[in-house]
């Protein structure tokens, strides 16, 4: 054969060109147009959101839309392990810690008015608040309407960075988790590590279990932790980093943790609208996107199973989509009851909303959980969070 090829090279090349492997019926005549219509995933995402959120949010949607398409705001999660005087520096720049800010003012008014008209159940859930927030947890933001940016954080003399820049609304699930001293906590989908870091900043956790299904993401998470937390806090006795499939957790460690944070993968709305690469709305990832609600449900169920009776679970996403938020929680509560016989109670997050309503815009009238919606003046979010308590 080789000899033949050598002898009649031109002839064979022609034959090879003629015989195409695809059968005739499947051959497609190529278009001659110089420019094929292109549909970048960001535009597909926008179309998708326009149709679904337009109906869901109604008149609120235009202002959410413009905020999503404009530059986001950051919050600086202060690293309490750092030795530099970052705090004063940030205050000089004009930002403030929104967690401790106007703390007393709101709660003084709240307690007086609430105790009068309340059913016993509501009172129970209310009583947990004001949540005993750790004094170490500080997150700085620029005031409403201020569009100044943070400078990148600098390392101190031990190589630890002064603050971690993240969406300030991402702190809310950590605050809602209400970690107490001596708790064991599971972070089921931890990467890239902002929320995990916030949990570690509280310095209350006895044992923290960090998981993310992707190996590369856990290694990145590990790097983040090493550049923010001193080594003595990252020992095997108080920390475990794994990359298992989170949905199997219920079978591995049942009824173990006091607190479980289930921050599931979702159609990260802001990212999908701004970045074309690694976008979940690209044509090749349609299937993955369709399976998201199912995956989220499985993760939440696993998280519920991993919590011990009396433990609390916080479910959070960074999308506005009802299918990925309310529906998932509703189904999970239903399934947990039907299939696993686990009784769950939805914990009201109203006190949290009351406390932070000057910093974030919350979606009005959600019958389950709370949602931060982006707004140009306070361009944080979107973040959805819902808290469940496993009844003993």
């Amino acid at each position: 054969m080789a000899l033949l090829l050598n002898r009649f090279p031109v002839f064979f090349r022609k034959v090879c060109e003629l015989i195409r492997l695809t059968p005739r019926r499947n051959r497609v005549k190529e278009k001659w147009a110089a420019t094929q219509p292109k549909h970048p995933p960001t535009r597909l995402a926008l179309q998708h959101f326009d149709s679904s959120y337009g109906a869901q949010l109604g008149p609120l949607w235009p202002s959410v839309r413009v905020a999503l398409l404009s530059e986001r705001k950051y919050g600086a999660l202060l690293n309490s392990f750092s030795h530099d005087l970052v705090l004063e520096d940030l205050q000089v720049q004009g930002c403030r810690d929104f967690i401790s800010h106007q703390d007393r003012l709101v709660f003084g008014a709240e307690e007086g008015s609430c105790e009068v008209s309340m059913t016993s159940l509501e009172f129970l859930s209310q009583q947990q608040y004001p949540p005993q927030l750790s004094p170490h947890l500080k997150c700085f933001v620029f005031p409403r309407g201020d569009v100044t940016r943070f400078k990148p954080a600098r390392p101190d003399r031990y190589g630890l960075l002064g603050y971690y820049l993240m969406d300030a609304a991402s702190i809310l699930p950590c605050l809602a988790l209400d970690v107490q001293k001596g708790h064991t906590v599971l972070d089921l989908c931890a990467a890239p590590g902002g929320k995990t870091l916030a949990l570690l900043q509280t310095q209350l956790i006895r044992y923290l279990c960090i998981n993310d299904s992707s190996m590369s993401r856990t290694s990145r998470l590990r790097k983040v932790l090493h550049s923010y937390v001193p080594k003595q806090f990252l020992t095997d006795e108080n920390l475990r980093i794994t990359s298992f499939d989170g949905t199997m957790w219920g079978e591995m460690e049942r009824e173990t943790f006091d607190r479980v944070l289930v921050d599931v993968p979702c159609t990260t709305d802001r990212h999908s609208l701004t970045e074309d690469d690694n976008n979940i709305f690209s044509k090749s990832r349609t299937g993955e996107r369709r399976r998201l609600p199912q995956l989220q449900l499985e993760l939440l169920l696993a998280g519920i199973a991993a919590a011990r009776p009396g433990g609390e679970i916080v479910y959070s996403t960074c999308t506005l989509s009802q299918n990925q938020n309310l529906s998932v929680v509703e189904q999970a509560v239903h399934f947990a009851q039907e299939k696993h016989g686990i009784q769950l109670q939805v914990v009201s997050l109203k006190p949290l909303v009351q406390k932070f309503r000057n910093t974030f815009h919350f979606a009005p009238e959600l019958h389950l959980g709370e949602m931060v919606i982006p707004h140009l003046a306070a361009n944080f979010g979107p973040i959805y969070l819902c808290k469940l308590k496993r009844l003993p």
């Binding site: 337009g54 235009p62 839309r65 413009v66 404009s70 530059e71 309407g145 569009v147």
Partner: protein, 296 residues
């Protein structure tokens, strides 16, 4: 006649003042107006220009302007004092040739006297640019000049960018641009309002058939209203939002420019000698290519 007299007597400054004062009065200025003009002329202090003033004024009067409006023009644009009579006449004739009829020509000149200080050649350039690069009809160019004479002094590259932004991004045709006086507004203004609407989902770029899935607001509704009306009734937003949006967009644009390199950097190539430069480049490229071959 008046001008003759004053020309003869211009050697002595004192006499000039007196003479031109009286001649100004004869031309129809009131006493205070004449004094005012004299004062501004002597501020210029250039002997030759002082000589020209009366002839310049005569040209303006021949155009059919009354003393009050002439004085107003000179106040707005003192440079007019030092323009030569012949040049002035040329420029006016050129504007007439461009299709500005009596009445609108006078109104335009009074409103924007600076146009008489612009050389005929640069006006020609702008007109040619509007017709060839932006494909405005002759009538439309006349309308543009009448409504927004300031275009003659704008940077052509900026003008082109503004036109293309409105034409391609907003999908607005030339006729509407003229009708709603697009060139009165700065690019930043147009872009900010349009982007705000677009991001709120209230404006879409039409496809090649000119279709959109929503009804876009008219260009006039976007531009020819004050900011409060625009924000509240067209964009249906709060003033706070638009305020912040302006800040954000300004920063975005600045960063984009930094990223792409200034637009003006290309201006030299575009204006003239396009072909020559291209050829030169090619030659350079070729020589570079040959050098590399030799090394091999």
């Amino acid at each position: 006649m008046n001008t003759e007299i004053s020309f003869c007597a211009l050697h002595d400054v004192q006499r000039t003042k007196r003479l031109s004062l009286s001649s100004l009065l004869e031309m129809g200025f009131t006493d205070s107006q004449a004094r005012h003009i004299c004062d501004s002329v002597f501020e210029i202090k250039k002997e030759s220009s002082v000589k020209r003033v009366l002839s310049t004024l005569t040209v303006l009067f021949v155009l059919g302007l009354n003393p009050t409006s002439v004085q107003k023009m000179l106040d707005i644009c003192p440079d007019l004092y030092i323009v030569k009579e012949t040049l002035l006449q040329q420029r006016i004739d050129h504007l007439r040739k461009l299709g500005l009829v009596e009445g609108s020509l006078q109104r335009m000149v009074v409103h924007y006297p600076k146009i008489l200080t612009v050389p005929v050649k640069s006006v020609k350039n702008v007109v040619q640019f509007l017709r060839e690069k932006c494909l405005f009809t002759t009538q439309q160019v006349t309308d543009i000049l009448r409504d927004t004479p300031a275009v003659v002094l704008e940077d052509l590259l900026q003008l082109e960018y503004k036109f293309q932004y409105v034409y391609f991004r907003m999908g607005v045709k030339q006729a509407e641009m003229v009708k709603f006086r697009l060139f009165r507004f700065t690019l930043d203004d147009v872009r900010c309002r349009h982007t705000f609407l677009e991001r709120r989902g209230l404006y879409q770029t039409p496809d090649k058939k000119g279709q959109t899935t929503i009804i876009n607001p008219k260009l006039g509704d976007i531009l020819n209203v004050d900011q409060d009306t625009f924000v509240s009734s067209v964009a249906r937003a709060s003033a706070e939002e638009y305020d912040i949006f302006q800040k954000l967009l300004a920063r975005e644009c600045k960063e984009e420019e930094l990223l792409q390199g200034r637009v003006e950097a290309y201006s030299d190539e575009d204006d003239d000698g396009d072909d020559e430069e291209e050829e030169e480049e090619e030659a350079k490229g070729r020589s570079g290519y040959e050098k590399r071959r030799k090394k091999k």
